[in-house]
């Protein structure tokens, strides 16, 4: 016998948590207890579960690293989804993003890539809503990390501008350890488990971890529309398998919101296609990576002093992961003629592990450049590096293949590595705009012998910002969901998350995914009664979700870095 709820939400990242909280507000405003369940395939985390460590045990608990054909994509695993591990850059996408028309030649006639209802202007109120909920702050120059400051000064010396990046981080609480990437142990980073989702649970939303949605069927028991089959996942205990336990349950709901992300929703919908025959033929297509393209820069510390007038560097390990970026290669390409040629350049610290990926092309053909003695030499200057993330306007070049029998990818063991049923091959345009970004970085950093450009190696795309696969569009022949996130011809079935985003954004995507999610759920609330949910009261007004840090580690800021810095220099 299926459990019945009004609303079932698959996934607890940004999209799922925002949907849960806003719908919970609706129930409260209508004087009802929320009949809302959030399913999450991963386990529940507290801040105190996180570690400043990249040991395999910890990574296995929090991440999936999914290898497809041509790309490796990082996904969050656990209650809070990707928000536990994001680097918290919180930027509004530029207007040009929403006006782009440079879709692929095989992708319909000349048209705007976003539905007509979405633009920067229509999203602005929702951006404001998200910025309030995620407590976004713009750092002062005194709070900009040295790596970001060095990037800013490098650009300045080359005649460019560079802006500070707003962050969803409590900068009073943050102690600048540069360990956002394995989960903030202090609760200083504003993940959804500290705001939207915590507030939703306080309102009575049920969150069920270790629960993986497997199959969607239609329900004939109106007003219930969908019947979802869910597997229990073995995530807890001493040595979890992280595989289905064999126990399954069913949820029957009036509204089904898929928020499993761009790597989760498409396989789920594709597997369910026999029961959802009216799905768009675009389902699982147009997978993108937000135009992510990384590189590194190896500074000559003496030149940092002589050319830039800074008091040295050698401290990649300090401060917020992202703090500065330049829009100069974006704003010099106005109008649709600039479509597909723009990019932004942002200083970013991914993790030490990302330094596996840099320094191609320095060697003669007979010698390796990304391993061996040369690579070792490049690693030995690690603390004089910065990493640069170019976010380019590319085409969404990926596509899902046949879905696996269970889940979104095959996890052969309890570790973080998985094999994903997708392929990703860069289009000519996607390659060209990346080459332009490389050339721009190289030109800026190699002036006066200041630094050495370190190109990305390997054949694969590496990405942590998967977008699309269920993109929103004007019509069913072009996309999977409409401008409200509702799946075409499947009433009450929604994709509210990264999977609905149709283009790369030019900025880190979390704020835009969240703003589009806020808009989608606001549209759903406007028509709630049509779906059998409580009618929206006339005085309904969305509020800022309260903040709840839960049990947490109290940060103790270092009184002096001198001992650590000296040790680093003595070894390095």
């Amino acid at each position: 016998m299926a459990e019945r709820v009004d609303v079932c939400i698959v996934g607890s990242g940004f999209g799922g948590s925002i949907s849960a909280y806003r719908l919970a507000e609706l129930y409260r405003a209508a004087g009802q207890t929320p009949s809302i369940m959030v399913l999450e395939r991963g386990r529940r985390h507290q801040h105190t579960d996180f570690r400043q460590s990249m040991d395999l045990g910890h990574l296995s608990r929090i991440y999936g690293l999914v290898q497809g054909q041509g790309a490796q994509i990082v996904v969050g695993d656990g209650v809070g989804g990707g928000s536990n591990f994001y680097l918290a850059a919180s930027l509004r996408a530029p207007s040009e993003t929403f006006e782009r028309r440079d879709h692929r030649p095989d992708d319909g006639s000349d048209r705007r890539m976003w539905p007509s209802q979405l633009s920067r202007a229509t999203l602005n109120p929702y951006y404001s809503r998200v910025e309030a909920a995620l407590r976004v702050q713009k750092p002062t120059w005194k709070q900009v990390a040295k790596a970001g400051g060095l990037w800013a000064k490098t650009l300045d010396a080359a005649g460019h501008t560079c802006d500070r990046v707003p962050l969803a981080i409590d900068l009073g609480r943050c102690i600048q350890a540069r360990w956002c990437h394995t989960g903030c142990i202090y609760g200083a980073k504003n993940s959804v488990i500290t705001n939207y989702l915590a507030a939703a649970e306080a309102y009575g939303v049920q969150v069920r971890p270790n629960s993986q949605a497997e199959l969607i069927a239609q329900s004939s028991a109106r007003p219930y529309r969908y019947l979802l089959t869910v597997s229990e996942i073995d995530n807890d205990g001493e040595s979890p398998t992280r595989q289905p336990t064999g126990r399954e349950f069913q949820i029957e709901c009036k509204v089904l919101i898929l928020s499993a992300g761009a790597m989760g929703n498409p396989p789920l919908l594709m597997r369910s296609r026999p029961a959802l025959p009216s799905l768009s033929s675009q389902t699982g297509k147009n997978l993108g990576i937000n135009g992510d393209h990384i590189a590194a820069v190896d500074y000559d510390e003496q030149k940092v002093k002589d050319v830039l007038g800074l008091p040295g560097y050698g401290q990649i390990y300090k401060g917020n992961h992202i703090s500065t970026m330049s829009y100069d290669w974006w704003v010099d390409k106005p109008g649709n003629a600039g479509d597909g040629k723009r990019f932004t350049l942002q200083e970013i610290y991914l993790s030490p592990l990302a330094h596996t990926l840099y320094d191609d092309g320095r060697s003669s053909q007979a010698m390796p450049s990304f391993w061996g003695l040369q690579k070792k030499a490049a690693l030995s200057t690690f603390n004089n590096h910065i990493e640069v993330l170019a976010m380019v306007e590319d085409t969404h070049d990926g596509e899902f293949l046949a879905p696996p029998p269970s889940g979104s990818h095959v996890r052969p063991n309890a570790g973080p590595l998985g094999v994903g049923p997708f392929k990703y091959e860069l289009s000519e345009q996607s390659v060209r705009v990346r080459e332009a970004a490389d050339a721009a970085i190289r030109e800026v950093v190699e002036r006066s012998g200041l630094a050495r450009f370190m190109k990305l190696t390997f054949r694969n795309a590496f990405a942590s910002h998967p977008l699309g696969g269920c993109r929103m569009a004007e019509s069913k022949d072009l996309g999977v969901v409409d401008h409200r996130g509702e799946v075409f011809d499947n009433e009450g079935l929604f994709c509210i998350d990264s999977s609905a985003i149709p283009t790369s954004l030019g900025v880190n995507p979390s704020l835009t995914i969240s703003a589009v999610s806020e808009r989608s759920v606001a549209q759903l609330i406007d028509r709630a009664a049509d779906y059998g949910l409580p009618a929206k009261p006339a005085n309904f007004a969305p509020a800022v979700p309260g903040q709840s840090l839960g049990p947490h580690t109290t940060p103790v800021r270092s009184s002096s870095d001198a001992a650590i810095d000296a040790k680093v220099r003595s070894y390095g």
Partner: protein, 227 residues
């Protein structure tokens, strides 16, 4: 942390034979598009491995070869034990770099960690390594550094049908060295890779002197976002 037990006596031929059930390899080969190369190399590898004297080393030849591959990918100084205290095959490290390399940073432990799953690829990988080494004059572990480099260049050539397995080996070596993947809360005092990089590792007290504390460029926007 799963670790390899160096006290297990070497049983290379039996071990390889056990791991290399033909059906198993065929299944893996088809999954990984290994093609015919690895399969054709298997008899060669079996023959090579069968000639090894088990008494030669506490670390068996299969593990010694994995260590030698790791040492080619991130070369290091000669030493006898890893960060975690595990033994190193006496021939594994070529000794071409004065600082610690991937072997000292416990690459072998990461190769064998069940959370990585490289054990499933190991038989096919080692067979290919040995087949390619034979063309260069002997077993991989007996080759001088430059010939080891040549073998790895062949394996990592994008045209090699099994390049993905070689890239997995690269990823293992780098995960051990750069990320100290076999240590919980590693620091520069415990992880030799971090020492080479000059990376402090876990930083529970964060940093106070993290900013240049001055405006360093002109800005294009008032909010940080473009309109």
């Amino acid at each position: 942390m799963a670790s390899h037990d160096p006290s297990i006596p070497s049983q290379v031929p039996q071990e390889i034979a056990g791991l290399l059930s033909r059906r198993d390899v065929l299944r893996r080969a088809s999954i990984l598009s290994l093609g015919g190369l690895v399969l054709s190399a298997l008899p060669v590898a079996d023959r090579i491995l069968a000639t090894v004297d088990p008494a030669e080393a506490a670390v068996d030849l299969a593990d010694g070869t994995l260590q030698a591959v790791a040492d080619t990918l991130i070369p290091g100084r000669r030493t006898t034990v890893t960060d975690l205290g595990h033994e190193i095959h006496p021939k594994a490290i070529a000794g071409v770099h004065p600082e610690p390399g991937a072997v000292e940073a416990d690459a072998l432990a990461v190769f064998h960690d069940p959370l990585i799953g490289f054990d499933a690829l190991e038989p096919a990988f080692l067979a290919e390594v040995q087949a390619r080494s034979l063309q260069r004059g002997g077993q991989f572990i007996d080759l001088p550094f430059q010939r080891r480099v040549a073998v790895c260049l062949d394996g990592l050539d994008p045209g090699n049908p099994s390049v993905i397995v070689w890239e997995a080996a690269v990823a293992v070596a780098f995960a051990a060295f750069i990320a100290a993947a076999s240590q919980i809360n590693a620091t520069i005092d415990t992880a030799s890779g971090y020492q080479v990089m000059g990376y402090p590792g876990t930083a529970p007290n964060g940093y106070a002197d993290y900013s240049y504390r001055q405006k360093l460029s002109r800005e294009l926007t008032a909010t940080g976002s473009l309109p």
